[in-house]
């Protein structure tokens, strides 16, 4: 399974079936416990892109990647890392989004990051180019 949490899997399947209102209801219910969970954030990005909010979907997926690679946040909230399957799907999603907005520089960087399975340099670059994708006040 792509998610370790049954409710996340349920939301994922609903989004894939375009049952977006139902998916949104469950995400609202889960929000208080999982707002910074990397898998929750990824589901948010999938929901946002279905409603054509491209940039917000990218921001949510980037934050998901960032949290997944920030041990302090995971530890503080008792969250598990995303599964290998989800990590790959998240990279592919982000690559497709950057292709959509025609930013080929970020497509290249992310393809290399995905191949090397190491997002650290990308995350450092991200802090420079998109300083709002941050965990300030969230730790």
């Amino acid at each position: 399974m792509i998610f370790n949490n049954t409710e996340f899997n349920n939301v994922y399947n609903l989004i894939k079936k375009d049952e977006l209102n139902e998916a949104n209801k469950i995400l609202i219910k889960l929000r208080s416990s999982f707002v910074l969970h990397p898998d929750y954030l990824f589901l948010m990005s999938l929901l946002l892109i279905k409603s054509k909010r491209t940039y917000l979907a990218i921001d949510a997926a980037l934050l998901s990647l960032k949290v997944d690679n920030t041990e302090t946040v995971l530890k503080k909230h008792g969250y598990e890392n995303s599964s290998d399957e989800l990590i790959e799907e998240r990279y592919l999603f982000l690559i497709s989004m950057f292709k959509k907005i025609k930013n080929l520089e970020l497509v290249d960087i992310l393809e290399t990051t995905m191949k090397n399975k190491n997002p650290i340099s990308f995350l450092i670059y991200l802090e420079k180019i998109m300083p709002g994708i941050r965990l300030k006040n969230k730790l």
Partner: protein, 296 residues
Amino acid sequence: MKLLWNTNRNLPDIATNINEERIIFWGNYHFKNSSPWILNLLSRIQIEQIDSLKNLNKNEDIIVVDNLIGLKESFYFELSNKVKRIYLVHLGDEGGSEKKDLVYSLCEHVWRTFYLPNFRIIKNISCIPIGYKSSVPKTKVDISDKKYIWNFMGTTHGSSRYDLLNKHADLNPHFTNLTGDFAGKNSLDTSEYYNVMNNSIFTLVPHGYFHPETYRLYESLECGSIPIIENPHNFFEDFLPNNPLPKITSWVESSDFIKNHINRKDELNKLSNKINSWWITHKESLKKEFLRINDI
């Protein structure tokens, strides 16, 4: 009708925590910057501005302009016992998450900023644009005399604003001023800010932090700079029906639009005039609506 501007009354002298910092910042911000916009909307109503609750009459109505109302429930309880009807202009609440049900229930009508579709179905709520900050220029620079093709002044949050800068970097001359925080230390002062906008053919208007609206949309309209607005899920067709504003979902569309129009001054002038005339009409209809609701 009496009007009480309550955003900056009884603020703490010094902030002892982040929450108090927010209360002081926004209370003063709205008093200083939102008053010309709100008073303009109320200009068809005869207003007597008051600064205390003394001498209120149980048979009269009052308009209160306020923000962060969830922290002021007892004030509204007290006020509801002193006057016949309260009309509230609720500023702020960008995320729509402020506690407001109780205060709204004590008001005859509420005008609020940061429109969300679910407010449309509530009978005693009308949504208004967030408006512009004070000191808009009195004269507009003609399109052919403007110094810059486009401007962006503000914070660089996430992917939208990054992409905005990326996609327009080669369109010169342009003006950018990037800041860390809203109204933060690198922000231009109001007259410099408006001078840049007034001197820009286009103002790029990305999504706000939580909400699609940002002040720069209305500031550019006041300056005669053509706003190009990020329009996720057709928000602006819903909130500002029949508006002629150029709208995009991805910033590449905006740079293409500018490249296609920049040398067609006649078309730009036509578009600018159309936008200006729509904005004047829209403001007039809002003023009439304020008057109509207060007359009931």
